[in-house]
């Protein structure tokens, strides 16, 4: 590290400082102003004090949206971890074509969420969807994947898992490959079963990766927007209304800028709290 004070340093970080001021500091600052006003962009802002918050706390739809998102996460995250671990384990063995399988599983991760959603709209369609056709062919009844208020959100969670699990397979695979073989060898000598090897060696050592998977999935889950936007418009019976979709509607359909900013602020706080709680509970010291 150079010990000389470098003026050049100031110049080099100046662009970032400008960017920060314009796109981070100003929006944050402005959002603190917006949440105390009512505004539809066209007419002047109206100061309304805490009314936005009063409205928020009475807004059943918004809390339903948050709960919907939590339902989504409670299905998506465990499903993701189990499937990703499963396939990562398989890929960790001595097999040929590992790169091919890995690449294929990873494909949905890079393809646009829009494509995935349009595709799954056909897979999930009630009358003519792919899954229901297969079910009918096997003699079962059709399932209302996106039309039933109980099943709709879980269906979206499954779709999101399909899209993202490839990424987590790659992460777990990297994590698995960094576990030294000697640990397993020693355990075998001690007579440990596969079961014990997995739960006492593999999982604990994978903890950092698991934490990462949980945090990333959570943050991704809270941004859930384009899937309900395209698939269901928030229905049926508001069961797939995500918080972001609700905020988007408030801001850009109904032009309630102040209220939408308030919702965004509150929602951001919820996210921060949940992420902190998650880290506390899931993070373990790795020896």
């Amino acid at each position: 590290m150079s010990r000389v004070e470098s003026k050049a340093g100031y110049f080099m970080v100046m662009p970032y400082f400008v960017y920060f001021a314009a796109f981070v500091a100003y929006p944050l600052f402005f959002s603190f102003i917006l949440i105390f006003h009512r505004w539809n962009i066209v007419t002047p802002m109206e100061f309304i004090g805490l009314k936005n918050f009063v409205r928020l706390f009475r807004d059943e739809l918004f809390f339903k949206a948050i709960i919907n998102t939590l339902i989504f996460l409670s299905i998506h995250i465990p499903l993701q971890i189990v499937i990703a671990l499963f396939f990562a384990n398989l890929l960790n063995k001595q097999i040929k074509f590992r790169a091919f399988f890995r690449a294929l599983y990873f494909l949905p991760v890079v393809v646009s969420g829009v494509v995935i959603t349009i595709l799954w709209q056909q897979i999930y369609a009630y009358e003519t969807g792919l899954i229901n056709q297969m079910l009918l062919g096997l003699g079962f009844k059709k399932i209302p994947w996106l039309v039933s208020p109980e099943i709709a959100m879980p269906s979206i969670a499954v779709m999101a898992t399909w899209k993202n699990v490839g990424f987590y397979i790659v992460l777990f695979l990297a994590g698995l490959q960094s576990i030294p073989n000697e640990l397993y060898e020693v355990a075998e000598i001690d007579g440990a079963s596969n079961f014990q090897k997995f739960f006492r060696i593999t999982l604990p050592l994978l903890n950092p990766t698991v934490v990462l998977v949980v945090v990333l999935s959570t943050i991704g889950g809270f941004s859930l927007f384009i899937e309900p936007y395209i698939l269901t418009g928030g229905g049926p019976l508001d069961s797939t209304l995500s918080a972001m979709l609700y905020i988007y509607n408030q801001a850009f359909y109904f032009n309630h800028m102040g209220y939408a900013a308030t919702l965004g602020f509150f929602f951001a706080m919820v996210i921060l709290i949940i992420v902190i709680i998650q880290r506390k509970f899931i993070e373990r010291e790795v020896y």
């Binding site: 917006l34 393809v111 829009v114 399909w162």
Partner: protein
């Protein structure tokens, strides 16, 4: 041997699970409307009719170039500024260096939900609605990219930098002539990450762009499918989705190793 067979079978089933939907979508877009729901790919009446409808109804080629332009611009900007700031933070000494680092980490923690609306208002005030500026500027710099570069640059031996300085190079020259060429993995990582995520970004364009002239490809397809311009013609919708998926899939086929490695590397950063 038997255990291995089971492994392979499971992996192949998985592969089908991930590949079938895409293949189905492609073939369905070629089929006549009444045959679309069929599970199997082949049919006697395959044609590209739906694709011509897509090209006729929406400016998808323009949207493709919009996306290409915007994503390339953003990627370049993020790489250039990310490396400059990363260099300054890793190799130069100045007051406030730690403050900037703190600001960067702080930015990463802020959920975008809180800044979305005010940033939109800012864009309106600057007159950047319905313009490339509105799409590019808010994404010009990226904290994660700065951190990745900084991390990587820390590993470059000081001696290399010293000898370049002795040769009379200034800081920017050191960065671009010496350090960057040595940092190919970091550049690739940042480049691919930035390009892919900006290409697939759809919420921000939906907010900032209203005119078809400036829409990005995912945005245009979304509006096409949701807005009813495709009528109830399913084949046309699927054709537009296939067109949207095509560029990234093509890039992926060629650069697949870099894609996977860069995304994996960011995971390991944490």
């Amino acid at each position: 041997m038997r255990r291995n067979a089971l492994t392979y079978i499971t992996l192949v089933i998985g592969a089908i699970f991930f590949a079938y939907p895409f293949l189905w979508m492609f073939f369905a877009s070629l089929k006549p409307e009444t045959q679309i729901s069929e599970l199997w790919f082949m049919s006697e009446n395959l044609s590209f009719k739906n694709y011509s409808t897509v090209f006729a109804k929406i400016p998808i080629v323009r949207a493709f170039f919009n996306s290409l332009f915007v994503s390339t611009a953003i990627t370049f900007s993020v790489i250039i500024f990310g490396s400059i700031v990363g260099y300054a933070l890793s190799r130069l000494n100045f007051k406030g260096r730690d403050l900037i680092l703190f600001l960067i980490l702080f930015t990463m923690m802020i959920p975008f939900q809180i800044t979305l609306i005010p940033t939109y208002v800012l864009i309106v005030k600057l007159g950047f609605v319905d313009s490339y500026a509105g799409l590019i500027f808010p994404a010009m710099m990226n904290s994660l990219a700065i951190l990745i570069f900084r991390q990587f640059f820390l590993t470059i031996p000081q001696s290399l930098i010293e000898s370049a300085r002795i040769d009379g190079c200034n800081n920017l020259q050191i960065l671009f002539k010496i350090i960057i060429p040595l940092s190919k993995p970091a550049v690739a990582t940042v480049g691919i990450l930035t390009f892919t995520s900006s290409w697939n970004e759809v919420l921000w364009p939906l907010i900032v762009v209203r005119s078809e002239k400036f829409m990005t490809m995912p945005q245009l397809v979304t509006i096409f499918v949701v807005g009813g311009q495709a009528g109830s013609q399913l084949g046309v919708q699927l054709a537009s989705a296939t067109l949207l998926a095509l560029p990234i899939i093509v890039a992926y086929v060629f650069f697949q190793r870099y894609f996977i490695e860069s995304l994996a590397r960011t995971g390991l950063k944490e």
